[in-house]
Structures are given as C-alpha cells and as structure tokens.
C-alpha cells in the first residue's frame, strides 16, 4: 500500500551519519554543496533557514534534528538536496550523497516493527543493499508535516528550559520527567539526567502543546503510581559517575601536569564546588593517589566548599559506611581507608591534603589561585543570575591557566557570559579563563 508512494523505481540515496536513506528520484530537483543559509528567527527546531537559489527562496530542513540522531552542526562538507513536491520546493541537509539506486518495487520491505513511531510514520519502506539497509523516506508526508508546522503559525516553539522551570526545582522531578520520556521511547540518544533538560532547551525540541501533554502525563503517572520516585541517597558512594572522573583525570594529566612541569612548580590546588558529604572530593584524591606517578612529590591540595554545614562536617570527619565503597575494590580500599568499627576512615596522609569550607558557590573569596575547579550538578540547579555570579566567582578564583570542569552532562552553552571559554581534551569539555 505504501509502496505506491513511489512513482519510479529509482532512488537517490544519501547518508546521514552512518545510516542510508533514499528518496524518490522524481521529486529530486538538484543537489548542492552547503552554502550560507539565512536563519529565520522563531522557526521550528529542525528548520535551518532559507537558501537563496537563483533568486528563489527555499526553506531548508535538517532531518537529523527532526529525527533526533547524530550531530547537528552544519559544515561546508555537507550537502543539500532540493526536492520539488507539487511545485513546492524544500531543501534537505545531508551528510553525503551516494548514488542513484535502481530498485524493483517488489523488493521494498515494510518498515520493521521496533522502529520508533515518530520515524516510522515518515518511512515508506526499507530495501536491502548488498551490505546495508536503505530507509526510503516518505518525503511527501514529511513536508506535509513541515508545511503544517509553518502554516499553523505555531512556530514560536516553547523554549522549554527545564532547568529554570519550576519543574526542575528538585532532582526527583527531573528524574520523573526523564523516566517518563524514556518510557514513551523518546529518543534521547545518550544524553541523560540533567543533560537532557539542557538539551531540550537548547534544541527547542518540545513545543508547547507537547510539553503540556508531557507535564499532564507525568502528573497523572505520579498520581496513579506508575512512576516511582528514585532514591535521592542513591549517589552516596565514591566514584558515582565514572565518566566525570575520567574527564577529571584526563584534564589533570594532559593540561595541569604538563604546565606545572614546565613551570617547575609542584603546587597544585584543586577546588570542588558543592562537595556535599565529600564523596566527589575524596574520589578525586583516590584517583590522583593511584594514578599520578610520584604523587607524594606533588603538593596537591584539595578544597571542598558547600553550603550545607551538616554534610560538610560529615565530610570533614571522613568516616564512611561500607556501602559507600561499592565501587572501590578491596586492595584499593586498604590504600585509602583504615577500618574503624565496621566503618571506613580516610587515611591521615590523604586527609591532610584536604580542607573544607562553609561557603556558597557565589562567594568563596578566600580561595584564589586555583588550578582546577570541579563543579558537578551545581550550575544546573540555578537560575541565570546565580549562574552568572558563580561563574564570575569561579573565574576570579582560577589562576591564569586555571580550568573548570563541569559534569559530563552539563555545559555553559546557553549561558550568556564572557568570562570563560570552552576547550576540549579527549572529547571532554572544559573551560578556561578568557
């Protein structure tokens, strides 16, 4: 039934990321190299802008944004396929054009079950190449949807900022929403936790109507008990999110140490903002002790600040229950702790390198000349004004070459500030003073 949507047996095939797609050759007008597009304010998230093609203005759509996969950056090596549907023309951004592919209609397989519904409805079918599969796009229905979006005038997509929305005032609710989105097979790639909320807001993925539906369904789900609250205490153990510690170590090893060696300076000052009960701070210390050659020769000082006095007192005591060591093996635990009536106390030589301060992230004026600031899941819970104050305090606190590391799922992408600029090391983003 769907196969009749193809008017010929020839397809133009192209690549988006590693996936192959095909469209009917009869609607394909021409293929261009990527050029300058004129952006249109207040347009849908998948709408890249307008292309001036020999005097005609043609809207350009990004399928990767529409279908939520891969990276979204436009670069010169990309291409544009201009399609013409009932004398309406649109452009599609593609990674690479492949070839014209001849098919017999009979060889088109229906879209397999298990394809996410949002994509499935825009596919005619799937054909087998010698080695790969090519998904045939139903361009007509895609553009009907696009035209609807544009014609409705409802293109002022709700800039959904979970982070500053009252929805995200606590972690539980963020997790509920996240779980909900997972349960409806929302394609969230690998972005998890708070990252997803920043991500939504950046990409303007959810429009107002969708959002209202989502919020209502989340509320209903909580009421009828189908969504359960995640335990907030869950992350109370050392090395709770290993990616962040890999990033930390890469940054330490490839950025901080080489500079210190060059300056012949053995002093390294590390600050952990929002250290809470000290799990993060001590994890860093364990990491450095185990993996930095000649760790003893470095004068590494770690400082933790937090505005919860009780947690801070706990961290300063340095006595941890056995359950917080789940990610530390037995040999290592003997390197870091001495046992004390079933609990584990941080060894004295390690404890001496650590100090804790009662301070808010907005004001820690006595801590200056810091080489590395590790600040996870602090900024993502703040409003804009507070974030800017924290950033300004951070930039004051860092020394000339100091760096800031956030958690893997956070960034300063949509925060207007001119104090810090982003760099990358081994795929981890970090920030330096401008």
């Amino acid at each position: 039934m769907q196969a009749t949507a193809l008017s010929t047996n020839q397809l133009v095939t192209f690549q988006l990321e590693n996936d192959l797609f095909g469209i009917d050759i009869m609607i394909t007008q021409e293929i261009l190299k990527m050029t300058q597009l004129r952006r249109v304010p207040n347009s849908p998230f998948y709408f890249e802008g307008m292309l001036n093609l020999r005097g005609d203005v043609i809207p350009i759509i990004n399928f990767k944004k529409l279908f939520q996969f891969g990276t979204f950056e436009l670069s010169r090596d990309k291409g544009i396929i201009i399609v013409n549907i009932e004398s309406q023309r649109f452009g599609i951004v593609i990674d690479k054009v492949l070839r014209v592919f001849s098919i017999e209609k009979i060889s088109i397989n229906p879209v397999p079950e298990g394809f996410p519904k949002p994509i499935k409805q825009y596919l005619i079918g799937v054909i087998k190449d010698q080695t790969d599969h090519i998904a045939i796009l139903d361009i007509k229905s895609i553009f009907q949807m696009v035209a609807n979006d544009l014609a409705l005038g409802d293109i002022s997509y709700y800039n959904l900022d979970f982070r500053r929305d009252k929805l995200s005032n606590n972690l539980e609710e963020e997790k509920i929403i996240l779980n909900f989105l997972k349960s409806i097979n929302f394609n969230i790639n690998s972005i998890t936790n708070i990252g997803i909320f920043n991500y939504f807001s950046k990409q303007k993925i959810i429009n107002k109507t969708t959002m209202n539906v989502v919020v209502k369904q989340v509320k209903d789900s909580i009421e009828n008990g189908s969504l359960t609250l995640l335990n907030k205490e869950k992350n109370e153990y050392f090395f709770d999110h290993s990616e962040d510690y890999y990033a930390f170590f890469d940054l330490f090893d490839h950025v901080i140490v080489p500079r210190k060696l060059k300056e012949n300076n053995k002093n390294i000052k590390i600050l952990n903002i929002g250290c809470g009960k000290g799990y993060e701070l001590y994890s860093i210390l364990f990491l450095l002790k185990s993996f930095v050659p000649d760790f003893e020769k470095w004068n590494v000082k770690l400082m933790g600040i937090d505005d919860n006095f009780n947690n801070l007192t706990f961290a300063n005591e340095g006595l941890y229950p056995v359950k917080s060591l789940i990610k530390i093996n037995k040999n290592d635990s003997q390197k870091y702790f001495v046992t004390e009536e079933g609990n584990y106390r941080i060894k004295k030589d390690l404890k001496e390198r650590v100090s804790f301060r009662f301070a808010t992230p907005k004001n820690f004026e006595s801590i200056r000349g810091v080489d590395l600031i590790f600040c996870r899941n602090v900024l993502s819970k703040m409003d804009d004004t507070s974030i800017n104050r924290v950033i300004s305090e951070i930039s004051e606190s860092l020394n000339q070459y100091g760096v800031l590391l956030l958690s893997e799922i956070e960034d300063l992408y949509n925060i207007e500030q001119n104090l810090l600029s982003a760099r990358e090391i081994n795929g981890h983003r970090y920030y330096v003073r401008q």
């Binding site: 002093n267 100090s355 804790f356 009662f358 907005k362 006595s366 200056r368």
Partner: protein, 157 residues
C-alpha cells in the same frame, strides 16, 4: 569559611547560654547568608582582628533580651530595656566572644576582639558587603538567639 573557625563559635554560644542562663539550647542548622541581615531587636557587635578580620553579631528580640537580663540579674524583673539590661546583654555577648576566641587560640589562631557595641531598635539591617557570614540559630525557652559571624579570610596558599 574554614570549619576550624566555625565550631568554636557554635560551641561557645551553646555552652555560655546553657551555663549562664541555665536553659536548654537547641542548635538549629547553620546557614550562610550574604549581604544584608535584618536585626531582631537587640544586637551586640564584637569586632575581630588577627588571623581573620570580621565581626560577631549576637542578635535577639527585645522580649528575649529582657528575659535574659532578668535571669542574669538574679531574678530582677525588667519591664524596659534600660542601661542595666543593656550592660547585661553586652556582658553575655562578651562571654560568648571571649570563649570562642579562647578556643581559637588553643587551636593556634590568633585573634583580638574589640569592645562590644550594642544596638537596639526594630526595622534595622546590618550589612557586611563581600563578607562570608554564617549564622548559628539557637532555639531557647526565652526565644530565638542568632549568632552571626562574618569574617574576611586571608587567601591561603
């Protein structure tokens, strides 16, 4: 603020109030406050210099102050906040400050304190711009007493 600076003030406040007034003190969770703090009614200010520079503010409302003064003057009842009452509250504050400083000295920090100054009145605020301030809220049978400490720490290396 260094934890080492904080605990002496917390301990001293609880101990002095318990010892001198003979009442139970419940310590509520400490919190940080910046910029402007409204004053409850009676506030005693003690300046600090030495290892750190700053001030301690001991703050309570007028009813609490009158009750405190009564107990400290062996039951003499105060209806108005007169000079004797003022001197009494000042003395209490001095004791708290003094005990804290002694404790800090024993831990190797050197501090000097200024003579206490007492402020009375409602609708007042106190500001210490750019200072980190922490507040120890104490719940007593006489009412709430707040110990507000703001210091400028030296940069440490």
């Amino acid at each position: 603020m260094r934890l080492e600076y904080i605990n002496p003030f917390v301990e001293a406040s609880c101990e002095i109030i318990q010892e001198v007034l003979g009442i139970e003190v419940e310590k509520e969770e400490l919190f940080l406050k910046e910029t402007t703090v409204p004053i409850l009614g009676v506030a005693v200010l003690i300046g600090l210099t030495g290892s750190v520079r700053g001030r301690v503010l001991i703050d309570m409302n007028i009813d609490t102050a009158l009750k405190v003064a009564t107990v400290m003057n062996f039951g003499e009842e105060f209806k108005v906040f007169n000079d004797l009452a003022k001197a009494t509250i000042t003395e209490l504050s001095n004791m708290i400050g003094g005990r804290a400083i002694t404790e800090l000295h024993s831990e190797g920090f050197s501090f000097q304190v200024s003579p206490p100054t007492i402020f009375t009145g409602t609708d007042m605020e106190v500001s210490s711009p750019h200072l980190e301030a922490f507040i120890v809220p104490l719940k007593t049978p006489f009412g709430r007493i707040e110990i507000n400490v703001a210091v400028k720490e030296r940069e440490d290396n």
